[in-house]
């Protein structure tokens, strides 16, 4: 039960981060039907900028929490600027081009951002400064109790706040109405006095801002930053967005949390479930193998990165519109 609870906590934390990143994908997709491959890289840049700020300010006498706050406040505009630039330079000129064109520029931009980050921050894994002391709380009184850290609590609360804020932005404000209008028919929205270009840029900027915070969260959760960290994270978040139904904000949140949980439980239980030795009770042939090595897992936790894709492929086969989505048009 403790293992279960622990994986639940880990999965929820990770899921919250995925959900926030997935929101960035889904917003952009919802409005211009484009997979912004470079979004994962925006998240990475958020983490890197925050890390640099924290390293720069550490030991300067500023209280730790204030340093983290300053780091986040520095990462957000940096990522927003990157997000705006990507849209302006690489996607806007191709908005009326065939689908393949913006997808190719997107992957190109993603490469450029990764390697610019490599130039600035180097190719090694950088320990993300743990400036706020990690405190661990046990969830029950037993010795093997599941624990939750203050970082995890902060990640979850912050994610929920951001999701709520975003949903309020889209459904309660003027710009939110404009965003929904542009996503339905950009040309008609234009006739109604909405500037589609402005709204699309705004969407990218908001998505990038969310990405920046997600970057700080994932950096402080794993305690590590790397110039390629955005790639897998971005892919998983995209899987989450598709699972929930791409273009649907609530779907992105649901998908993110589900992917986080699947990954955590998968990593936690996969090894035991596929352990050949548990079969040896039923199949005597395996017993000999197990005497030499009692841990004969066919698929261990090193396969945890695979789960998100398996989910993606299953969703695409059985429910391409996602859990909460509307029917996806299959236009090429």
């Amino acid at each position: 039960m403790d293992v279960f609870l622990q994986q639940l906590v880990n999965g929820l934390t990770l899921g919250c981060v995925y959900a926030v990143v997935a929101l960035g994908y889904t917003m952009v997709y919802g409005i211009i039907q484009l997979i912004n491959f470079a979004h994962g890289e925006v998240v990475m840049i958020g983490a890197m900028v925050a890390m640099s700020v924290i390293l720069g300010l550490a030991g300067s006498g500023v209280p730790p929490l204030a340093i983290v706050l300053i780091a986040v406040l520095a990462a957000i505009p940096a990522c927003m600027a990157v997000g705006y630039l990507i849209e302006r330079v690489a996607y806007r000129p191709l908005r009326s081009a065939p689908r393949l064109a913006p997808l190719i520029t997107a992957i190109g931009v993603s490469m450029i951002l990764q390697h610019l980050a490599l130039l600035i921050w180097g190719r090694n894994y950088i320990p993300f400064p743990q400036i706020v002391k990690t405190q661990t709380f046990a969830l029950s009184s037993s010795e093997t109790a599941a624990t939750i850290t203050n970082v995890q609590i902060a990640i979850m609360l912050l994610s929920i706040a951001m999701m709520a804020g975003l949903i309020a932005l889209v459904y309660k404000t003027r710009i939110g109405i404009a965003m929904r209008a542009v996503s339905q028919r950009p040309d008609v929205a234009g006739l109604m006095g909405v500037s589609p270009n402005y709204v699309i840029s705004f969407t990218f900027v908001v998505g990038a801002g969310l990405g920046a915070i997600a970057g700080v969260m994932i950096g402080s959760y794993y305690g590590i930053a790397h110039y390629q960290m955005g790639f897998l994270l971005g892919l998983k978040a995209f899987c989450a967005a598709v699972l929930g139904g791409i273009g649907n904000l609530g779907g992105a949140v649901l998908g993110g949390i589900l992917i986080g949980l699947i990954e955590a439980f998968g990593a936690g239980y996969m090894g035991d479930l596929t352990n050949v030795c548990t079969l040896s009770k039923f199949l005597p042939g395996f017993a000999g193998l197990c005497e030499a090595n009692s841990n004969m897992a066919v698929f261990g936790s090193s396969y945890k990165d695979v789960f998100a894709f398996i989910v993606l492929i299953l969703v695409l086969v059985f429910r391409p519109q996602g859990l909460l989505g509307e029917r996806v048009s299959d236009r090429a």
Partner: protein, 364 residues
């Protein structure tokens, strides 16, 4: 063959004959000339040809059928591992290469079908992301399939893979003809060149065949193609499977030239590189793709020999490593080509018409 050539050559058979003869002589002489500068250059040329093969395979998927495959290297990896497993001391199996290459192509093809079947019914973007994920999955499996049964030998890779043996010639050794030494790389060069010629002919024939025209129709307007009675799902799957099997063959050859493979050779970077080659040369144009692949194979090597010494001379230290510069170059090549010359350096006539037309496509 002649119908694929530019008009002025077709009209003038003498020019054509002389031209072809000169090209053949140049291609035959090339490895010997390069060998004088060092075997490394022959090796480099061999890898360039390998990349041309891969780009031509990807071109079937991206250029002909208009499907974006971002995990193409996975099929290359499958082919390479099939070869390595069936011709190395790792599993103790040593089959001849002309049995393994078809097996590799077939296995890669099966992977392509497995991956394409669920996704090709959907919009193109999904295919892009699923293939991207697939590339990663294959790498994760290659890294981890050493437990509990050691199949891939994990991150350490498989070494001492058999070289190709053909007509009694061992491609791994130097053969002496009279007092001239024919080294392995030169033999591989001629082998690769013949494979390349075959692949180019297949591609040229394919492009103007019934299938090729159907792909073109799908790429231009899938809905219209379907209304004309083309089974779009089946044909897209065919393109995908065919591209995959070309990748598988190239992978097998790679395994034997290199003699050693590890999961590190099959990362996203390589997939993106091949895509950049196709995009730079001109999606859908066979000669353009050949040009793009050759350019992007050699330019980074030239950079390696010029940029790093230049930086040492100018700044006294290295600021940008050559391979970082290479990736930046690939990234910029893709973005700038799409923005300013979407049909590539050597645009295919139809592709150019399609990619510059702006009244169709985006649902924005």
């Amino acid at each position: 063959m002649t119908s694929y050539l530019p008009e002025r050559f077709r009209k003038n058979p003498l020019v054509l004959t002389i031209g072809v003869a000169m090209i053949v002589v140049a291609l035959v002489a090339l490895p010997f000339v390069l060998n004088m500068a060092g075997t490394a250059w022959v090796r480099l040329t061999n890898f360039a040809i390998l990349f041309v093969l891969l780009s031509l395979g990807l071109n079937i998927v991206v250029g002909f059928a208009g499907l974006l495959d971002l995990g193409y290297i996975a099929f290359f990896a499958v082919g390479a591992y099939v070869y390595a497993l069936l011709a190395s001391p790792h599993l103790g199996i040593h089959l001849p290469f002309w049995i393994i290459l078809p097996i590799g192509a077939l296995v890669a093809c099966l992977f392509g079908i497995m991956l394409g079947a669920p996704t090709l019914k959907l919009r193109g973007d999904y295919l892009a992301i699923v293939t991207l994920g697939f590339g990663e999955i294959i790498r994760i499996f290659m890294n981890n399939l050493s437990e509990p049964i050691n199949l891939t030998n994990g991150p350490k890779g498989i070494a001492t893979i058999d070289s190709i043996k053909l007509f009694g010639l061992d491609f791994g050794r130097t053969t002496r003809i009279g007092d001239y030494a024919l080294n392995g790389q030169i033999k591989y060069y001629f082998f690769l060149l013949s494979v390349l010629v075959i692949v180019i002919i297949i591609n040229l024939r394919l492009q103007n065949s019934r299938i090729g025209r159907a792909w073109e129709a799908i790429r231009e307007d899938e809905l219209a193609a379907r209304s004309m009675g083309i089974n779009t799902t089946k044909l897209k799957l065919l393109a995908f499977a065919m591209g995959a099997s070309f990748g598988g063959v190239a992978g097998g050859v790679f395994s034997s030239i290199q003699g050693f493979i590890s999961p590190e050779s099959f990362t996203l970077t390589e997939s993106v590189m091949i895509l950049a080659m196709v995009v730079l040369g001109g999606m859908g144009n066979i000669w353009g793709v050949v040009l793009g692949a050759l350019l992007l194979s050699f330019v980074p090597e030239v950079l390696r020999y010029t940029v790093e010494p230049a930086q040492h001379a100018l700044f006294g230290r290295q600021i940008i490593e050559a391979d970082v510069l290479r990736m930046l170059l690939f990234g910029f090549a893709m973005v700038l080509m799409m923005l300013y010359r979407p049909a590539g350096l050597l645009p295919s006539a139809v592709r150019e018409r399609e990619l510059t037309k702006d009244d169709e496509g985006g649902t924005a």
